[in-house]
Symmetry: C2
Subunit: 131 residues, 2 copies
DNA sequence: CCGTATCCGCTGCGATACTG
DNA sequence: CAGTATCGCAGCGGATACGG
């Protein structure tokens, strides 16, 4: 099955629900939380440490979002002090490979990207360049 | 880049530049444009058609960003009417596999995600649910 | 310990109009 | 055809304070 010149029902199609699925990856923190959870089950506080720089608000919000999308399972133990654990669901685990590849790509190629940026900004002749 | 006192010098570390690299993927349109450009060299108007629903502003902005990051090459031919072509650089092409996997994952699993959302929202007992 | 609530600046993104 | 300019707003995301 080869020919894919017809790509009507594709991710690129506006009304395809897969767009909404991709929006899970957009957002500053989602990928990083998934990346951290590859290690296995983690408590809230452990995630907070693992994903360096994330605020409580964004950690909670990202986790709720991932939970809603069925990628992460939340288990709260009614003890004092509270204990809550998060782990990837099967669905979430099916993304592990991609998340890992993405992380590896980022680390392997950040150098090249940084150089490209300097090059691009440089060609612009030292004008004030935001971002 | 030298400072990696611990094994913790990976994507999850706050000061790791790979975070900035990951931000290329965040954003609603970047992945879709990359996805479209897997097909080969495309003109501006072809991209506009391919990535359904994107506005001129966001297409231009996304392309500039990808160009700045060294993932996309832009070639403008000084003819009338103007003709501008975009293609993946080698660096951009090195992301092809991941982008393809991501697209395939989205299409294969959007059903499961949709179900998970309904399930999650349903358990909340019909309360007003944003997003 | 694991959250929720609130205030608020910033910017991503869309809509629209204009140009070489 | 391939952009740029401008406006406007919703929502992301940070800081801080509070609650079970």
């Amino acid at each position: 099955m080869g020919n894919m010149t017809e790509q009507a029902a594709d991710v690129l199609s506006r009304h395809c629900p897969s767009q909404g699925v991709l929006e899970m990856v957009t957002g500053k923190w989602s990928v990083l939380v998934l990346y951290a959870l590859r290690a296995g089950t983690l408590r809230y506080s452990e995630l907070e440490q693992a994903v360096d720089g994330i605020s409580q608000k964004m950690l909670t919000q990202t986790l709720r979002d991932l939970e809603r999308n069925g990628l992460v399972a939340r288990t709260a133990y009614p003890v004092v002090p509270p204990r809550t654990e998060y782990r990837l669901t099967d669905l979430g685990a099916s993304l592990e490979g991609i998340v890992t590849d993405l992380g590896r790509w980022a680390q392997n190629n950040m150098g090249a990207v940084l150089v490209a940026r300097q090059d691009y900004d440089g060609r612009r002749g030292g004008q004030a360049q935001a971002r």
